[in-house]
């Protein structure tokens, strides 16, 4: 059976399509005398790449694209991912030859426009977070986390405070937080959440001692809640000599509503590919700028952009920098898009973003909480976390509800995360959707709940209308096939 990719077959891979002599690109003739080739020991005998023509490449990849759900084609309420509309102007300007066509090491006087843009973006992000300084060098959210916790480490070590080996991380945190803390050499201590979904202050006080380097807090939390103990959390950590890291993954809820720096956070990262609308691209590129308060500014990752008294822009390395953390100056093309987004919206626009994102999530919560269990029944921020426990009683799991949504033409919510909610369904509508779309989505989830009673097997075996049905992930992991092989080799 053929997989449907538009009206073209996508089952054959590039190497299956390869025909000797087909040409995809014509290269110019050599216009200089040929040099002698290096010693044969340096030359390869064969290059096992495909030979396909240009139309085939375009048709194949276009057909593949049509197998995807995306923001431009489907409502994509994937919790914690902020799948908002990605403005097209942002892509267009990032491709300007004066941006896409410049070399990272060309002299500063030949890249003043790019450096000024970076400088202004540093200022914008510093302002949005209420911090003192920003480095744009980190390439994704987790990369920003790594830089941030290395800065915390460097700060303590510079004070001769070398016994701070522990990093406190809530049980609701993204997996990147403990993984980043481990890469920075810390032992991870888990902080439980209390019955309201806030940080359990008693548990925090127990670990707050002279071996605590700090805590990593996501605000709003991955439960979609604003931690109403946040001031106390910062106070407890600071009183024991620790620092507070802010995971800015959920900053879409707080734009213009609160500043992490004012709340007491010492350092945070932002996910520009979430809050600031740069396209996620099927898994990146992102950008994870790090913003920090005064005491950590000397430790920021290199480089940062500075403005001289003469009004020129230069790259520099902060005095006690944790060092260079990426090849050049950060994901510039992503930074151009985020800059454009902020310039387009201004303060009023950012406020409207957070307001509508939070409003839409609360509307969904309100319209569904009679049939989907709501573990924390309070005003949510940009996302709402339901539990499919009530559907589970009828033999339908959260995963199956999510898969059934695909048949209704909606991307699934995030499932089974955060880990502390049974059968979690985490829904983040963002500000980009119409009331009609929200209502259609609500209707779909109500219909699926009815199906869980009337036709549970329909839900259990979903999806039914997608290019492929449920895939055998166990076999994929047990006998990994990670590249194309010729048929003869595969048969061996």
């Amino acid at each position: 059976m053929l997989n449907k990719g538009g009206n073209r077959d996508t089952t054959r891979m590039l190497m299956d399509r390869s025909v000797s002599g087909r040409v995809g690109v014509i290269t110019p003739e050599l216009d200089v005398p040929a040099a002698s080739l290096p010693d044969a020991v340096y030359l390869r005998d064969s290059l096992p790449l495909p030979e396909v023509s240009e139309p085939e490449v375009v048709q194949y990849f276009t057909s593949l694209s049509q197998l995807n759900f995306s923001i431009d084609t489907h409502f994509y309420p994937l919790g914690s991912c902020t799948m908002k509309y990605n403005p097209k102007i942002n892509d267009e300007v990032a491709f300007l030859p004066g941006f896409a066509g410049i070399h990272p090491q060309q002299p500063a006087e030949q890249s003043q426009g790019a450096l000024e843009l970076l400088y202004r973006l540093q200022e914008f992000l510093t302002e949005v977070t209420g911090m003192s300084a920003t480095s744009l060098a980190t390439l994704a959210g987790a990369h920003g986390e790594l830089a941030g916790v290395l800065m915390m480490r460097a700060y303590h070590l510079a004070r001769g405070d070398s016994g701070r080996t522990k990093m406190g991380i809530p049980d609701s945190a993204h997996g990147t937080n403990p993984a980043s803390a481990a890469m920075a050499g810390f032992d991870v201590v888990t902080i439980p959440s209390d019955a309201d979904g806030n940080t359990d202050l008693a548990a925090l006080r127990e670990i707050a001692g002279d071996d605590l380097a700090g805590v990593m807090i996501t605000l709003p939390s991955t439960l979609g809640l604003f931690d109403s103990h946040i001031l106390e959390v910062c106070q407890v950590v600071h009183e024991c000599g620790g620092l507070v890291y802010g995971d800015g993954a959920n900053m879409n809820a707080l734009l213009g509503r609160a500043k992490l720096g004012e709340l007491g956070f010492d350092v945070c990262h932002l996910n520009l590919h979430k809050t600031f609308s740069t396209p996620h691209g099927g898994g990146g590129p992102g950008a994870g700028p790090v913003c920090c308060g005064e005491i950590l500014t000397p430790y920021l990752a290199a480089p940062v952009v500075e403005r001289t008294d003469a009004g020129e822009y230069t790259l520099s390395e902060p005095a006690e920098s944790i060092g260079k953390i990426s090849g050049f100056h950060g994901n510039f093309g992503v930074l151009v898009r985020a800059y454009t987004y902020i310039r387009t919206l201004g303060a009023a626009g950012l406020l409207s973003i957070s307001g509508n994102a939070v409003l839409n999530a609360n509307y969904i919560m309100h319209e569904l909480k009679d049939i989907y269990a709501l573990p924390y029944d309070r005003t949510c921020m940009h996302e709402v976390v339901f539990s499919a426990d009530l559907q589970r009683e009828r033999g339908v799991s959260g995963l199956e509800v999510a898969k059934r949504l695909l048949d209704y033409g909606f991307h699934a919510p995030t499932m089974y995360f955060p880990l502390i909610v049974h059968e979690a369904l985490m829904i983040e509508p963002t500000e980009s959707e119409t009331k009609e779309t929200l209502d259609a989505f609500i209707d779909a989830l109500r219909a699926i709940d009815a199906e869980a009673t009337s036709e549970p097997e329909l839900v259990q075996h979903a999806p039914h209308t997608t290019p492929v049905s449920r895939l055998d992930e166990a076999t994929a992991a047990r006998r990994p096939v990670l590249r194309w092989e010729p048929v003869e080799a595969a048969a061996d």
């Binding site: 390869r44 070399h103 992991a477």
Partner: protein
């Protein structure tokens, strides 16, 4: 606070917002933020006033105009970011919303496009490098080689790594940043002495191919020396050079990483780029980041899924092989389109164009009075020139003629300048460079 700014990115009008508020039973959007403590809610936010699309275009055009694009004149700067031709189909396909605005393919039933592309990518990158397995999930060349160092330590359970001093200075700095809290010792060693420095405590050795200064090193000897003591050979290799050069896998490399930017990605002031990462099959469970595997669905149809995810942060948390989550998937797509279009013949032709043009340039510059080529080893598209004057001055005078010169490497070579010549440089441009250098001398 009443939010009355109607952005074109937000569909619901104030009247519709009021409908939603009424449904919830609230008066205003501000009521939704009551959990933010008093005194911290609605801080001042000082940003420039919003601009229309027409105005933002003008502003960005003005900023872009103050940069000199590589294509605006002869350019001979490489050193980790390269000016290569990108077929127009790359941008046409990668900007399709179905690819551009999809998330990481966690729901495989509605992400087969992205997943199959990644499988193609893994296939072509492992072929280019002559390795058994390639992943799809590193940020850039610098962070890829740093992750390879961490992986070599995990595989060997050793904590000492030797890095050749011919590896990119930026890569060496990023390796140091990644290792600063891991108790790993990094010894930067002259390239010729790496093999002799290996001991039974060495987790791995790191070389670059071609090296940062353009030369080809004897990877075979390095691999044999490393393996004799149970260490791994880690190589960072230019993927475009693999169009003609023997891949590190054929020299016995255990982990091969690289900067994917030459494969259809614009220089873009340093990013976004694409980290390449490949290894021997036996080390696969110690690999960082994402892998896509082939499987079947409930009806027996072929499909693709993220696999071996128990290595990754969202499952393994602090015991994961890396913290990487979002990376550079869109550029894995770009490089897959590029490699598919170039194909086995096109990639070889581009590599050979770079090789011959660079040798034509080096030959002519080496004959100029006052200039010399301090390295004698075979090279690909980059070479060092010792100039008769400080390279900064030479570059300044080249720019007076609208020629972008090379990178200063005078800490290693007397008045050294690292030049790069690619298929983008015509004979006329190279001749212009040579005659300008001659005049400057």
């Amino acid at each position: 606070m009443v939010t009355n700014f109607q952005s074109h990115y937000i569909p619901n009008t104030p009247a519709e917002q009021d409908d939603l508020l009424a449904a919830i039973g609230l008066q205003s959007i501000d009521d939704l933020f009551a959990d933010i403590p008093d005194g911290y809610r609605n801080p001042t936010l000082e940003l420039p006033a919003p601009l229309s699309e027409l105005e933002i275009q003008r502003e960005l055009n003005e900023l872009a105009a103050r940069n000199r694009p590589l294509a605006s004149g002869p350019s001979f700067l490489g050193a980790g970011s390269y000016h290569h031709f990108i077929p127009s189909i790359v941008k046409a396909i990668m900007t399709r919303g179905e690819f551009l605005t999809a998330y990481t393919p966690y729901q495989p039933e509605v992400s087969q496009g992205t997943l199959q592309v990644i499988f193609e990518f893994q296939t072509m990158i492992s072929a280019l490098y002559g390795m058994e397995v390639a992943n799809a999930g590193m940020y850039d060349g610098a962070t890829s080689v740093a992750e390879a160092v961490l992986m070599a330590c995990r595989v060997t359970r050793r904590q000492q790594v030797i890095v050749a001093d011919t590896v990119s200075p930026a890569y060496r700095q990023v390796i140091a940043t990644y290792c600063q809290a891991q108790g790993i010792t990094i010894d930067v060693t002259p390239a010729g002495q790496v093999a002799g420095a290996i001991t039974e405590a060495t987790a791995g050795i790191v070389a670059q191919y071609p090296n940062f200064y353009g030369s080809l090193e004897d990877l075979q000897a390095l691999g044999e020396a490393a393996h004799a003591d149970g260490a791994l050979l880690v190589v960072s290799a230019d993927p475009l050079a693999m169009g003609m050069l023997k891949p590190p896998g054929e020299f016995g490399a255990d982990i091969v990483t690289g900067e994917g930017q030459p494969l259809g990605i614009p220089p873009s002031f340093g990013g976004p780029y694409l980290g390449l990462f490949s290894c021997k099959q036996q080390y696969i469970r110690q690999m960082p980041s994402r892998l896509v595997g082939r499987t079947t669905d409930t009806e027996g149809r072929t499909g693709y899924v993220l696999t071996l995810q128990t290595r990754e942060q969202h499952i393994r948390r602090e015991r994961a092989t890396s913290n990487i989550c979002t990376n550079e998937a869109l550029y894995a797509l770009a490089s897959s389109i590029y490699l598919a279009a170039m194909g086995r013949n096109g990639l070889r032709q581009v590599a050979e164009l770079c090789y011959h043009k660079a040798h034509y340039a080096a030959d002519a510059i080496g004959k100029l009075d006052g200039y010399s080529l301090p390295q004698s080893a075979a090279f690909f598209q980059e070479f060092v020139v010792s100039c008769p004057k400080p390279p900064a001055e030479v570059n300044r005078r080249l720019m007076e003629r609208n020629i972008l010169g090379g990178l200063e490497v005078k800490d290693r070579f007397d008045n050294g300048m690292l030049l790069c010549v690619t298929e983008m440089n015509t004979r006329a441009e190279i001749d212009a460079l040579v005659s300008a250098l001659s005049e400057i001398a």
